[in-house]
């Protein structure tokens, strides 16, 4: 049973560019959340998708947007990249509200130069 799959694993982008990160949730899970983890810090919640709609959003600018597809997979888009966007981006999936905990992927390491 595949867990949460994220692609790509590493990415280098130039300041001002746009990037799309992808996530396939664990089989049976219908909710996808995205987190940003700066080096040496705990993950910060970006947003959560359920039934193809954004259900919750953290304190991130509108440059961060997302999408969930009918098969529950999800994309995270970041426009006008800043150096400060360099981080590990984690996708987490759950069934429903995730009260039993989330399953995380191994993340995408984004470096903005």
């Amino acid at each position: 049973d595949a867990g949460v799959t994220q692609s790509p694993t590493h990415l280098i982008k130039t300041r001002g560019q746009q990037v799309t990160l992808r996530c396939s949730p664990k089989s049976g899970h219908d909710t996808v959340s995205w987190y940003q983890q700066a080096l040496g810090q705990g993950p910060q919640f970006i947003f959560q998708y359920y039934e193809e709609e954004e259900r919750q959003r953290g304190n991130f600018p509108d440059r961060f947007s997302g999408h969930q597809f009918p098969n529950y997979s999800s994309e995270l888009n970041v426009n006008a990249l800043l150096l400060g966007d360099s981080a590990l981006y984690l996708c987490a999936s759950s069934w429903g509200q995730g009260l039993r905990g989330y399953t995380f992927g191994s993340g995408t390491r984004l470096t903005v130069v």
């Binding site: 959340s33 040496g40 705990g42 993950p43 959560q48 590990l88 009260l99």
Partner: protein, 116 residues
């Protein structure tokens, strides 16, 4: 807003010994969940243990157990018989229990090193 504090940045323990990782949190909610996650160098966040705030009994999972003190808003993780594979970053996390806001709020984490 909820906050999670992990004040110990690093800890070290000898293999086969016991270690306790501390976590405190602040919330006005009465219904919530607490979690400990492990993040090894592979980067994948792995759920270690989960505690429901309305349950007085401390959760246990094999070598892992928690000391949940609701009044003190404390949630420590005890690892017994430490193994080399326990070397990782450990994060304490909080989640509201109302279902409408199920995001995780994480602490800054603690780096645990298990010495052979």
């Amino acid at each position: 807003a909820q906050t999670v504090t992990q004040s110990q940045p690093e800890m070290s323990v000898q293999e086969a010994e016991t270690v306790t990782l501390s976590c405190t949190y602040d919330t006005s909610e009465s219904n919530y969940y607490l979690f400990w996650y492990k993040q090894p160098p592979s980067r994948q966040m792995i759920l270690v243990i989960r505690q429901e705030a309305y349950k007085q009994q401390n959760a246990t999972e094999n070598r892992f157990s928690v000391n949940f003190q609701k009044a003190a808003k404390s949630f420590s993780l005890k690892i017994s018989d430490s193994q080399l594979g326990d070397t990782a970053m450990y994060f304490c996390a909080f989640m509201k229990g109302d279902g409408a806001n199920s995001k995780l709020t994480f602490g800054k984490g603690i780096t645990l090193s298990v010495r052979p």
